[in-house]
């Protein structure tokens, strides 16, 4: 698990490093400013963000949208419950100092977020109509392929209006595939784009990776059930 920790206090940095380095399979990077964090995530994929609530003169609540799509936890001397009202709230607020139980909670929480795509819902509502299920599956395939194709192009061309439409149309498809995190994420991206908030390019990359995950499953399903597009 790749974790990015934003903290300007050297003692708090050291404390968190000692605790998290005790866990296997954790790759921790520490930065002392939000700007450095934005730069880091624009180049490298991370799985989790841990951040102090206030870094220097900056407050996390003014920058949350730059971390859209990244699950995050806040560690603070006085955690602000108002952060829970953000469009993408923290998964948990921790009171400093960072402790072993906090790191255990992070691992457990991240495990609970993993959800495999499935088509049981589509199978259920089309029961007795296999042709309808096949039709749904191939439409989903086509829509996901189109999304993967269009999103990078629209992002590059800064065509926000059309990007909003593409993202909007894909939201409900994640419901059909039972991909709840992707459903929430695409919803949030649409809202941020409509509110003209700046998003880090991590968010745009994640739009494509979530679609690719869905598409990989759909292709696997087609192969497994030997479906054919009429």
């Amino acid at each position: 698990m790749k974790i990015l920790y934003i903290e300007d206090d050297v003692i708090d940095q050291k404390n968190c490093q000692i605790i998290l380095n005790q866990k296997e399979d954790i790759n921790l990077t520490v930065v002392d400013q939000f700007e450095k964090a934005f730069d880091f995530i624009s180049k490298e994929k991370i799985d989790v963000l841990i951040s102090d609530q206030r870094v220097g003169m900056d407050h996390f609540k003014d920058h949350w949208h730059q971390f859209l799509g990244i699950p995050y936890f806040i560690v603070s001397n006085s955690p602000d419950e108002n952060l829970n009202t953000l469009l993408q709230p923290p998964l948990q607020l921790f009171q400093k100092p960072f402790q072993v139980e906090h790191s255990d909670n992070i691992v457990k929480k991240m495990e609970s977020l993993k959800a495999e795509p499935n088509l049981s819902y589509a199978e259920n509502i089309t029961e007795g109509a296999p042709d309808l299920l096949t039709e749904m599956v191939f439409i989903l395939k086509s829509q996901f392929e189109e999304g993967i194709d269009k999103i990078p192009y629209l992002y590059e061309k800064k065509n926000t209006e059309e990007l909003i439409q593409v993202v909007h149309k894909l939201i409900s498809k994640f419901s059909v595939l039972s991909m709840s995190e992707s459903f929430s994420f695409f919803n949030r991206v649409e809202k941020c784009l409509r509110d003209q908030l700046t998003l880090n390019n991590f968010a745009y990359k994640r739009l494509v990776t979530d679609l690719q995950e869905g598409l990989n499953f759909i292709n696997f399903y087609i192969k497994q059930h030997e479906l054919h597009n009429s």
Binding site: E135, M136, I139, K169
Partner: protein, 137 residues
């Protein structure tokens, strides 16, 4: 002649299948006619003046003519303006909600993620119809 029915305006094929399959599974007595956008919906109404829908369920984001534009058109037409309209959309945008209620819609429903909640929403449409006086005329 079409029996009593819902006119459902939705351009997305998956959402249309999902809606109609859920209705069928609930054994709703109303039939369903699906059109892909507001323009097709208006044309359908014009072509079927003796058999207008009992309820209109409407997505907002559609090509050619979106849901709000369709709503504005039917609400200014005395032939159609009494048909109850329910918005069924993924948008929970406050502007969308306020602007549609200003056109006297019967309800605004946001498509939920959870399948159980989705089915309950469709059941609400069914229950609304069963309970309303319009269903018993």
């Amino acid at each position: 002649m079409q029996k009593e029915y819902i006119l459902y305006l939705e351009d997305d094929q998956i959402d249309a299948i999902r809606f109609s399959s859920t209705l069928n599974n609930l054994e709703f007595k109303l039939g369903i006619v699906i059109k892909e956008n507001g323009e097709e919906g208006l044309n359908w109404l014009k072509e079927n003046p003796q058999n207008l829908p009992n309820i209109i369920v409407l997505d907002l984001n559609m090509p050619k003519m979106g849901g709000l534009e369709f709503l504005e058109e039917i609400k200014k037409n005395p032939l159609y303006n009494k048909i109850p309209v329910i918005i069924f959309t993924t948008s929970n945008n406050k502007v969308d909600i306020h602007s549609t209620f200003e056109h006297q819609i019967a309800g605004y429903m946001v498509k939920p993620f959870d399948h159980g909640d989705y089915k309950k929403m469709i059941e609400l449409i069914k229950d609304y119809w069963d309970a309303s006086a319009l269903g018993h005329i």
